[in-house]
């Protein structure tokens, strides 16, 4: 018997996803497709009659706007929303802004796969000379972060290490108080939560591609252990297509 229900949603296609560029902490907006995905995700939650009490998201607009579309669809715009850098996408360091296909051609598919898909190998740092150093590292939204907290690059392990404290200290107490939680975030920050919830191995989490724009539902027992595998809300075809699309990225164009 489920003590709690948790809903996660990974934002839809961003303008940079469209261009196949490593996005990370760059504040790319949703593409038209991404907006449509968010609305469709919201509709799926509306059709299933979901009610929430509190929402969490990152400080990146593609996640925030996804949440806004969802809240608009389910008519719960009045819910409290907490934004945190700890739910941000993984920081891709020096690879931020690079086209994935070109990077693969330059470094080889294998190296790209390692950087994107390995657990603890970080990409090269984003240094002061990087095109996006000023606009990311010096952005006002990160003004309160200490030097230790502000990343210049992250492995998946690093991403999870800064996401989980927020999960444990802020989100878990709310769930245990009976608050119904919705989290709108990014592929890798959500992987952190999923890995933790399901006790997945590093290899297993690397193989997991969370679909975009599709609400992911966990039923949890009173110890926050999932009672079963994650469930997706939406039609089977949509879910299947989305998972296949993400797996195809990162391959060099022939």
């Amino acid at each position: 018997m489920a003590a709690y229900k948790l809903v996660l949603i990974r934002h839809g296609e961003s303008c940079w996803n469209q261009e196949n560029r490593f996005c990370g902490w760059f504040d790319a907006d949703l593409s038209e497709t991404g907006e449509h995905e968010a609305k469709r995700g919201g509709q799926a939650l509306k059709d299933a009659g979901y009610e929430f009490d509190i929402c969490y998201t990152s400080v990146l607009k593609r996640a925030i706007r996804t949440l806004w579309f969802v809240l608009d669809s389910i008519d719960q715009m009045w819910l409290p929303v907490h934004r945190t850098w700890r739910l941000n996408e993984r920081h891709y360091g020096g690879l931020t802004g690079l086209n994935k296909a070109e990077t693969a051609a330059k470094h080889g598919e294998a190296q790209v796969k390692i950087w994107r898909r390995s657990f603890d190998i970080p990409p090269p740092s984003m240094d002061e000379g990087h095109d996006f150093y000023q606009s990311i590292s010096k952005d006002r939204r990160y003004a309160d972060l200490t030097e230790d907290q502000l990343p210049s690059c992250e492995s998946l392990k690093d991403t999870i290490a800064r996401a989980l404290p927020f999960w444990n200290e802020e989100i878990v107490p709310q769930i245990k108080e009976g608050k119904r939680v919705l989290i709108a975030a990014h592929g890798n920050s959500l992987r952190g939560i999923v890995k933790h919830l399901e006790g997945m191995s590093e290899e297993a989490i690397m193989e997991l591609n969370l679909p975009t724009g599709i609400p992911i539902v966990y039923e949890l027992d009173k110890n926050l252990k999932p009672l079963g595998p994650m469930q997706f809300l939406g039609d089977e075809e949509t879910v299947k297509k989305a998972m296949e699309a993400v797996a195809a990225q990162g391959k060099a164009k022939k």
Partner: protein, 258 residues
């Protein structure tokens, strides 16, 4: 000498504003024009280089939607947004849902103006027989307020709006302003007017003639005691502002003036 900047914004047109009906606590979203007003406002604030640290809204969708659209236009979606019923529009009691023009024809322009613009005249209370009673009081958001649902208003004068707004201003908004945070309050015609009356020391009599246009950001520059150092500034194109003010004033009349 101005120490703090505070921005007030009355949301743009909702579907019922268009029909000239007292919307109040009924939860309407913005009309297409209202969306555009919010986007224009955001673009203006962006052009003028303003940076918000915190946004306060009511728990009515139209003020939240306005805040979101403004933040989106400014690329500041990451700015925290805090919501409270204490910034809600004035509760118009049994007048909710009534068309202002019909009311003006039935009761006369003066009585409607009195209900709309007096300081301490409370309209008749809403009760269970009212067509919008359940839509309002069965709404889950009103179980999340800092007062029990049964203690929430059933009608309000402008004075009563200020009575429930002021504690929130003092306990929650002021500390943020004093930390040097640039605050935007995205709210409603009467919750903004009530706050203005308090901040600017406007008399009970004079508040009646204060009209806030929709979608126009109001900048208050405050000293260290949170007293305005100069008159409020309505930002943007002055012709547009005058037209917006006139539009709101015309809503109180039985027929639009030519």
């Amino acid at each position: 000498m101005s120490k703090y900047k505070l921005f007030l914004l009355r949301h743009g047109e909702g579907a019922w504003n268009k029909e000239n009906r007292f919307c109040s606590w009924v939860d309407q979203k913005l009309s297409e024009d209202g969306v555009k007003e919010a986007q224009d406002c955001g673009r203006l604030l962006k052009e003028q280089g303003y940076k918000f640290d915190l946004v306060f809204t009511s728990i009515l969708s139209r003020s939240i939607q306005t805040a979101w659209l403004v933040l989106e236009a400014m690329g500041q979606e990451w700015v925290p947004v805090v919501k409270s019923w204490r910034l809600n529009e004035r509760h118009y009691g049994s007048l909710i849902g009534l068309n202002r023009a019909e009311m003006a024809l039935q009761h006369g322009e003066e009585k409607v103006k009195l209900w709309r613009r007096s300081y301490d005249v409370t309209p008749p209370m809403i009760d269970e027989s009212h067509p919008y009673f359940l839509e309002i009081y069965n709404d889950r958001r009103y179980t999340t307020c800092d007062v029990p649902k049964e203690n929430l208003p059933r009608a309000e004068s402008l004075k009563e709006v200020l009575d429930r707004l002021l504690p929130y201003w003092g306990s929650t908004v002021v500390p943020e302003i004093r930390k040097g945070r640039t605050v935007l309050i995205s709210a409603h015609g009467n919750s903004c007017r009530a706050l203005l009356k308090y901040l600017e020391g406007i008399s009970d009599k004079d508040i009646a003639s204060v009209t806030l246009p929709t979608g126009i950001p109001v900048l208050l520059e405050l000293d260290e005691n949170l007293k305005p150092v100069k008159p409020r500034q309505l930002l943007g194109d002055q012709a547009k502002i005058q037209a917006a003010i006139k539009k709101v004033e015309d809503q109180g009349k039985a027929r639009p003036s030519t």
